[in-house]
């Protein structure tokens, strides 16, 4: 099979040829008696997109929120760019599953929110926000309100907000799960272009196997009870064949099948 794989039961080390933008070390998270994450370690290579894929309840969103600094781990550390972090910081930006747009604020104010909190002057942040609104294809909607937009357009606003603060790491929590299938496909294609053009590290939580294989440079498969990284897959051959050819590439299909085979027993 033409794919490189690192199979380890726990604590998989990053391949030596990659520099890690984010590394998670021995993270444990308990909610009372419930163990959400146990001793999880994972490396996220710089400039690439890593998916966290797994059945519901495997703690993938919990892990992402710990990396974001929104949740505190019970034990273990998170390093971003070599520095240990415990709180949200300017090096990370978050894209929310439910968009988390402020309904009383116009598109441009929503996009500029992060810049505003960083103390960027009004005229400057509006210029930056306008640029990213245009980049995500929402030019002309600057003064619209979120309730006037479709689900897909709302998530574009959420994406523009995360891009506008120019963080090194983009944390995406099932960003496309609340948009319709066709919009999602377009988003996935756009995301590939984004990973290619922006020099950023993407952490992408999803429950869709096809989506993970389609967009990822590296897929971390998480299994529940106790939550652990069971496998890391690095698709190698189809990334450069163009977005139209990925879904019929034999390696793509093989990886999708293989992931389903290993997840099947965990889905009730």
């Amino acid at each position: 099979m033409a794919m490189s794989q690192i199979k380890e039961e726990s604590a998989p080390a990053a391949s030596a040829e990659f520099e890690s933008a984010v590394s998670v070390k021995n993270i444990t998270k308990n909610y009372g008696d419930v163990e959400a994450l146990r001793d999880m370690s994972l490396e996220f290579p710089r400039g690439q997109l890593t998916s966290l894929l797994g059945p519901s309840g495997c703690g993938k969103t919990t892990l992402l929120k710990i990396i974001a600094g929104l949740l505190e781990p019970t034990s273990g550390t998170v390093e971003v760019g070599g520095k240990e972090v415990t709180d949200p910081g300017p090096d990370r930006a978050f894209v929310f599953q439910d968009f988390a747009l402020l309904p009383w604020a116009s598109v441009i104010r929503n996009v500029a929110f992060g810049l505003e909190m960083r103390g960027v002057a009004a005229s400057e942040r509006e210029a930056i926000a306008e640029k990213y609104i245009k980049d995500v294809g929402l030019a002309g909607f600057e003064n619209a309100y979120p309730h006037e937009l479709s689900g897909g357009m709302r998530q574009r606003v959420g994406l523009a907000r995360a891009l506008s603060v120019d963080a090194d790491v983009l944390l995406m929590d099932e960003p496309f799960s609340a948009v319709d299938e066709q919009t999602r496909r377009k988003f996935q294609e756009d995301l590939l272009a984004l990973v290619q053009n922006e020099n950023k590290t993407f952490l992408f939580v999803t429950h869709s196997i096809e989506e993970a294989v389609y967009v990822s440079d590296q897929i971390a498969i998480l299994l529940p009870r106790p939550s652990r990284v069971s496998e890391i897959i690095r698709p190698s051959s189809f990334r450069n064949k163009g977005v139209d050819n990925i879904r019929r590439d034999p390696e793509y299909l093989d990886i999708v099948d293989e992931i389903w085979a290993s997840l099947r027993s965990y889905v009730e």
């Binding site: 949200p88 300017p90 990370r92 309904p103 009383w104 909190m117 309730h147």
Partner: protein, 253 residues
């Protein structure tokens, strides 16, 4: 669309006042005047200055009470909503205040604070404040978690999260509480004038009833309702001006 809303409002007013007129002509009761008689009394009292003097008196406790209830009520509500401790400390007081049979407690207030303005302001506050506090604190507690997470992940300070996220998110329910509280305050103002000392609009009501001048009595009641409705409309305008995105279909006009 605008015209249609206005038309519907006019239609509903015509239906209501028409029914009033018919009920007055039947008559339902000797003590129930027709709409036209009441309006005539209203015009007469407005022109001879009776209304003006009456409202100068009634508006004092009403305005002071409503202002205190709105500012203090929202402030305490925010506090209660943000802190479990203050919730534990204050919520029971306002729940009891809201459930208390106020008319029965007025003699106690008079005993403690006399028959002057203080007692009347207190009656307005007791009527208006609980619902404002309880609505505000409930709304603050129910701010969607993802908004707050969004604020934190984009490095908002605690104060920014309060001012830029929690208060705007809670504003529709806070304003709903204000609407309910302020209408209760209007009731409280009249109640205090009926139960403590007859002054202002309460005096017109009490006096006209005692001399069987029912059109004047209903004119006074009608005028206070009209004032309340106008004030609530103004409040809605203020809400829309402050939080434009709140206009999500539930605002009538």
């Amino acid at each position: 669309m605008q015209n249609r809303a206005l038309l519907l409002k006019l239609l509903s007013a015509v239906l209501l006042f028409g029914a009033w007129e018919i009920a007055g002509r039947v008559p339902v009761s000797f003590a129930f005047p027709t709409f036209l008689e009441s309006m005539a009394a209203l015009v007469r009292m407005t022109l001879d200055g009776t209304m003006l003097t009456a409202y100068a008196e009634t508006l004092k406790p009403l305005a002071i009470g409503v202002a205190i209830s709105a500012f203090l009520g929202i402030a305490i509500g925010l506090w209660v909503g943000l802190s479990k401790f203050f919730d534990w400390l204050f919520s029971p007081i306002f729940i009891v205040m809201q459930a208390a049979p106020l008319a029965a407690l007025i003699p106690l207030l008079v005993l403690a604070y006399g028959i002057g303005l203080t007692s009347k302001v207190l009656v307005v506050c007791i009527m208006a404040m609980p619902v404002i506090v309880l609505n505000t604190s409930g709304a603050v507690r129910n701010t969607p978690e993802s908004y707050k997470e969004m604020g934190r992940s984009f490095l908002a300070s605690d104060l920014s999260i309060l001012v830029r996220i929690i208060i705007p998110a809670a504003s529709p329910v806070i304003f709903a509480g204000l609407r309910l509280g302020i209408s209760a305050g209007f009731i409280g103002a009249i109640l205090s004038e009926l139960k403590i000392t007859p002054t202002g609009v309460g005096d017109i009501i009490t006096y006209s009833r005692s001399i069987a001048d029912y059109p004047s009595m209903y004119a006074a009641i009608f005028s206070i309702i009209l004032l309340a409705v106008l004030f609530l409309n103004l409040l809605e305008k203020i809400e829309l001006a402050l939080f434009k995105g709140n206009e999500r279909g539930y605002v009538s006009d």
